[in-house]
Symmetry: D2
Subunit: 333 residues, 4 copies
């Protein structure tokens, strides 16, 4: 870590700062410039609180040389991690297509969607049982019953299932779920992350609405440091001033995360845009820039289309899209 002091810093205060760093078992190199002094800290600086240092009145700025994330850092683990879910592999060239409805509504609905996306080559089934909703007056999901219906659809089709968990208290209901999803709003629900670090199931961690990649990787550390190494990252759009899509899909996060971490990175174009007719173009873009998979909303009931249709494709649209996605994957090899 490099700490740039303000010009004309009081000697005593500078010395106090140096002693404080030393008390944390850090070596301190002092280099005096013409105007300002720069401290170089040597040793394990991961425990040093950057924001605290940066806001001291004698400090002008601070900068980390080494990252604070360890378990998921590619520097210490150069090979791609492949997350396995039954026969499905994600990462290092293994591309996964996850599809299904926004919410699980009925046995007929989820099974029907599951069958059609499977016929189009999907590898896994998604569907919301616990639904985080901005309004308490909105539908909150079928909860435990929804998970039962997902499991029924899995039994009929063989597709592993992914569904969102909102609270560690619900963990017993997720015993047979294949992949547990942490939604964007819970990306920094640290108590939940710690619990998920103790179970033996892959976690699909979505990027928070306004979180940096570093923050996302620190949330991964909460899971991995507790022992669970099977984490899949998911870019799903960030909040910006731009107002014509629900969020702004930040696709450059895909190659950047691949540089920073060895974990697989997938993309959710449905939530990122919130507009079904933009999903195909954003899916192709995600495949083209090297994502390890896609998670796409698909609904089936033509009458329900009115309601569910928001950001969901119809099965035939999904089928057409999937063919193009595979073609793009071929093109970039």
């Amino acid at each position: 870590m490099i700490v740039v002091l303000r010009p004309n810093v009081n000697e005593t205060r500078q010395q106090q700062l140096v002693e404080w760093f030393k008390s944390m078992n850090l070596g301190v190199h002092i280099s005096k410039g013409e105007v300002q002094t720069v401290l170089g800290l040597i040793g394990d600086t991961s425990k040093v609180d950057m924001e605290l240092v940066e806001s001291l009145d004698i400090v002008e700025s601070a900068k980390r040389v080494s990252e604070t994330f360890k378990c998921c850092n590619r520097k210490f683990h150069p090979e791609d991690t492949i997350v396995e879910i039954g026969d499905v592999k994600v990462g290092s060239g293994n591309f996964v297509m996850i599809a299904g409805p926004c919410s699980v509504e009925s046995r007929e609905q989820i099974t029907s969607v599951a069958k059609s996306v499977k016929a189009s080559g999907a590898d896994m089934l998604r569907g919301g049982a616990f639904k985080p909703r901005t309004s308490p007056y909105d539908f909150q999901g079928l909860k435990g019953e929804g998970i039962e219906l997902l499991l029924a659809a899995k039994e009929e089709t063989g597709l592993p299932i992914v569904t969102e968990i909102m609270s560690a208290a619900d963990l017993p209901l997720f015993e047979k779920v294949d992949v547990l999803q942490v939604g964007a709003r819970n990306m920094q629900n640290f108590d939940l992350l710690k619990e998920l670090g103790t179970i033996n199931k892959p976690i699909l961690l979505k990027r928070g609405l306004a979180n940096t990649l570093k923050e996302m990787l620190m949330s991964v550390e909460y899971i991995m440091a507790s022992g669970n190494e099977r984490v899949i990252l998911c870019e799903r759009g960030i909040r910006t001033y731009s107002d014509y899509t629900r969020n702004t899909l930040d696709l450059s996060a895909v190659p950047m995360l691949h540089e920073l971490t060895h974990l697989p990175v997938i993309v959710d174009p449905s939530h990122a845009t919130g507009i079904a007719r933009l999903v195909p173009s954003m899916s192709l873009a995600a495949a083209a820039c090297g994502a390890d998979g896609l998670i796409i909303e698909v609904h089936n009931d033509p009458l329900h289309a009115l309601c569910d249709g928001a950001q969901s494709l119809r099965p035939e649209e999904y089928d057409a899209l999937a063919k193009k996605v595979y073609a793009v994957r071929e093109a970039i090899k």
Copy 2:
């Protein structure tokens, strides 16, 4: 709710949409323009999912006429709500000063800070026992022990205490806490909010890093709809492109929230800026624009100042600031 259809919409699809609205017991006024048709929905539209409607391919845009938040809406409750914590009143002209250290560290520390801020006129004591930290490797707070120390400081000074809760599972530890704080990262932890709606204690709800005022008010609804009407809102900075402060303090939220809701609104200048030397000016600004109170970080240990000092004032700085805050309050009466 007003729904603007795209030009040249298929008649059958338009009719399906109208029927769907009617099936929700809504009246539908159809007004055909030269180019486009506009639907006016009459009745309780709070259950209608705006995003769903807006993303239908036959819909160009939709707009709510009435807000979906009810319990906290000033339209239905024009008088200011005053939240009472023992003898302390917040709202409707009652200004509250809440001060204390970022983290509770020791009995000596918390009691000493409590005494000094009380001497400067503070109404309540703050201090973190459960600490949400971006990194799992950072100090996570003294937890239950921290709460015990806060209660000891309360016993010595008589100041009611405010401290953050991160998980409903910890509720038993908060039995004697006066005000439970929900941090920015948990503003949309809906399971936690629902639980807090069932208890009989005031809740201090901080605005999420990238949340709109409407989303904040919907989170309040989660608490109030479950029965707890004592909620205090807190603006604490939002995430923007601007990079010289930790967050951007959005002070116009104060008068705007006062317009939208009857609940008290306070400001946290310490977390908003992350820089102690900006705290006084932002505190005065908050008082000047009508905030119902301030929550300010104050540390006491001169040695620890190095570490704790990030965004915290020393007691004598707090004392000088408090005097000016009261003077500004007088000036704007």
Copy 3:
């Protein structure tokens, strides 16, 4: 336009508002709801200032039904526009590859890059002669001399040239330039846009750092309403809180702009990311989501690579990328 009034609006003030709209030759439909009154304005509302209306104290909100951009609106011109630059066509399935160095530095440099990108199939040559720099102390470009060097490179290779104009006063120097680029910082330099509307050359308009798509289309209107209909739009990244790339490339703008306007839309992955190693993946993503072309920075001088290399590819990297871009274009057909 739909105008939602606040509840319990004073009758006289409402009447004044209605009269004011009528004085602008608009029809006004008044529909009284249970709580609030809604006004529907009929006629040419493009002259009505939305922000003004929205901020009147008797108005709760306002919403346009029809867009204010006319010339570039796809509703009034459903077919794709093809912009022709000599033999090069852009739009409606015609994909353009524009490549070249950030700044023109010498005859040898620009000619050498021009030859190598031509050999890789590039359709046009880019290069900065007038350089908008954040700091007055940074290199501001070779200006007129730079344009001469670009023209020399054009003569040797036959590639049409694109270069940025910063001020209408410089127009005489651009007489032989094929396409004039307006940079992000000048997207709302309305005086410059008006001047460019009077000339007979295609304009490449880059999206401003924090501008919405509607604002971008209104800037296009400044050019088109003055008579110049040959405009190419360029997405080049927006400013967000995200800090690991210089800007955040907003690729969903591509399909969205295609929906809103008939003009071609290209993407600049070099400025969007500011990092050469992210350019290939973002170029492929842009091609996959339907962009009508790419504008990419390429440098040639291995020694200069140190300086120019920021966001620029080496010729051999460009060559490898171009092959993949064409393959992706094939895959999505």
Copy 4:
């Protein structure tokens, strides 16, 4: 400047980089860490392009120790600058109230507003003659005639006038104007800034919609480096995801700019919020946090109020506000 290299960098490439820095007359200190090497550059690094360095593939990150802005930097000029406009002083405890209509519309209008704001203690008159409008179809201002009307109002009231310039070509029309305003959209119109650096009039420079404080100070450098040292900065709101005000007023910019520069800093609450009823509270907040002045929109014509009233106060509202502003100024002394 400190440059952190990536781990295991190729020796030859590292040497090339070092040589390149040396060729710019910089000293280079190389310090090898356990994992990574850090270069410290000594000398005048203001010519080094940070973004270029940061994006080299062998560089992990770079950080400036000294700022690139010189003329306006408080480090080199610790005393506050006072800008004088006739008898009016701005900065270093001299607080300026600037008021007037959004647009100059008629002699009667501008004179009437001028008289009433003067009676309320205003120091200067503002009014738009050249209007930057998002849409080419909106009113673009009375231009030269508007300036004539402003000068007439000045003659009647003695108030110096401030009005916006959009293009250097219009400079002759501004000969008798007291202060030239550069609007947010032109904050990085470098050709305009350079021209304004050559004239002998104070410049009021507004912060761009998405510009950092450093970028703002670099724009000041364009003016000051060309010889004009009388610059007043103006915070007027930034673009964020927040959607209930037109922009988000970033008041912490006021104390931060005071720390970085010796120039006066004023605040425009009218454009920042776009909502007249929020202007008083934001004005008081600005005064409380140490702004050197306010620029506030005031309209006079009760009939026109409908249109002009957007973000403008009526004269009696301005009068009441001004009294409170002065009271807050007293309170914080």
